[in-house]
């Protein structure tokens, strides 16, 4: 009897103390990182839903050469004159970016705030939505009647940005935009509602092509809807070179959204570029 008890105890002891591996990945303890679809925070003139990572500063300088690429004696428009904008962006959080910029068109100072509100981790169509609000302040107004801080010199806009990416290659964006005081030259307050869209095809880890269109649905518009095509070179580390052909030569959102003054093909597009760099 004692013998069986002894054997039983030995077996039970080893059963108690022996075990299989119990470790399992605790996905809750590993925070989900931010979804990243487009590589840059801006496609051509319209924003992508991307934001920078917390603590990033980014500097941008962009040019739009006013002469068309086929204008004689202007060396494809590069002799200028040109619209120029430079800006500085900062990301207080992974989902928030604030930007302060200045363009030489009407001495425009712009401020914007972008916040990523929704991320959908769908396997086939990962998507995200951001909102962006901003303002433009025209400080070089040509009329003597206007004071610097006249409310008519200020424009305000709001954008919803929807992005999706198929197979890490084909990115699509929709950007409905509401712009208040579309025409700062007018004494009347106009508004514009546009429904911008773009597509970006990532050909390799560095090169991609872009198509962007921003038709006005209702409200004030300059003569034509802005259309642009571009080539993007992503050299890594947040450095982007974008080469652009467009019928719009405006750079800041409040000017760009209200339309272009010429047609894309009939008048020949103008050349432009955006350069961005992370300051770290």
């Amino acid at each position: 009897m004692k013998f069986f008890l002894l054997v039983g105890l030995i077996i039970i002891s080893f059963e108690i103390f022996s075990q299989e591996i119990t470790w399992k990945r605790n996905s809750e303890s590993t925070p989900l990182t931010e979804l990243r679809l487009f590589r840059s925070t801006q496609v051509i003139n319209l924003p992508s839903a991307e934001t920078y990572e917390k603590g990033d500063f980014e500097y941008e300088i962009s040019h739009r050469f006013i002469p068309a690429i086929d204008e004689k004696g202007k060396f494809f428009g590069l002799d200028g004159p040109a619209n120029i904008r430079f800006s500085l962006s900062y990301a207080p959080t992974d989902r928030m970016t604030i930007t302060l910029g200045r363009a030489n068109t009407d001495g425009n100072i712009d401020f914007s705030f972008k916040y990523k509100t929704l991320q959908i981790r769908n396997e086939m169509f990962p998507s995200q939505v951001s909102i962006r609000i901003g303002s433009g302040w025209s400080t070089n107004f040509p009329s003597d009647d206007r004071k610097l801080f006249d409310s008519k010199n200020f424009q305000f806009y709001a954008q919803a940005i929807f992005n999706t990416l198929y197979e890490r290659t084909f990115g699509i964006g929709l950007v409905p935009t509401y712009l208040y005081n579309s025409n700062v030259f007018s004494e009347k307050r106009y508004y514009s509602f546009t429904f911008g869209s773009y597509a970006q095809v990532f050909l390799s880890d560095k090169w991609s092509v872009m198509l962007e269109w921003n038709p006005t649905v209702t409200g004030y518009r300059n003569k034509f809807n802005p259309l642009a095509i571009g080539l993007e070179l992503d050299t890594g580390g947040g450095h982007f070179f974008k080469f652009i052909f467009s019928n719009s030569v405006d750079l800041n959102t409040s000017h760009y959204v209200n339309g272009a003054s010429k047609q894309f093909l009939k008048s020949s597009p103008s050349f432009g570029f955006n350069l961005t760099r992370i300051l770290k």
């Binding site: 002891s13 917390k54 580390g237 992370i278």
Partner: protein, 185 residues
């Protein structure tokens, strides 16, 4: 009978299986270092997880270990460089973890509760598995153990293309530095 029971329990204790999990409350560190004549940079994370198992006092006895690092959590100090590295080179949307599965094959006791250990196993990065032998030290301060190791991997072994364009200079050989803690589960 009491003596016998005590004896049995002592034997069982002596072969007590010990499964230890990564202690996430400690300052764990996983660091990679890329050095080229043009640019050097580091990436760090504390997102290491996994277990180490052995029976008895010897770390080699029925040894099993598995550790993984969440590559999405690597931080090089520049947000867009992080993104570029993860999306274009590590492809973390497909291969979010660097994983090592192996066992302790050699343990040499050293002063101050330390042991120099050799681990044989398989490293899995970027969808490619490669056999690897790694040396390191384990400092035993029960119930906590500190694991430290430094070794080098080649990016081409894991089919990671080395970018060489303009601002992105990454060395073909990457030094990995591990310093983390495990504790009884």
């Amino acid at each position: 009978m009491k003596v016998l029971l005590t004896f049995i329990l002592l034997i069982a204790q002596a072969t007590f299986p010990q499964e230890h999990f990564v202690d996430k409350g400690k300052n764990n560190l996983v660091k990679f270092i890329s050095k080229t004549p043009i640019e050097s940079f580091e990436g760090v994370t504390n997102q290491i997880d996994g277990y180490m198992y052995w029976e008895g006092e010897s770390l080699t006895n029925k040894s099993q270990l598995y550790f993984e690092v969440n590559l999405d959590a690597l931080d090089t100090g520049i947000g867009l460089r992080n993104r570029h590295m993860k999306e274009n080179y590590l492809e973390t949307f497909r291969y979010p973890y660097a994983q090592f599965n192996g066992k302790v094959v050699k343990e040499d006791a050293e002063p101050n509760n330390k042991s120099k250990v050799t681990v044989d196993g398989e490293m899995f990065i970027h969808g490619v598995a490669k056999k690897l032998t790694i040396s390191g030290t384990i400092e035993k301060n029960k119930p906590s153990y500190r694991i430290q190791s430094e070794f080098t991997i080649k990016l081409s072994d894991y089919k990671i293309e080395v970018p060489s364009l303009m601002f992105m200079r990454i060395s073909e050989e990457i030094k990995l530095v591990l310093d983390f803690f495990i504790k009884e589960k």
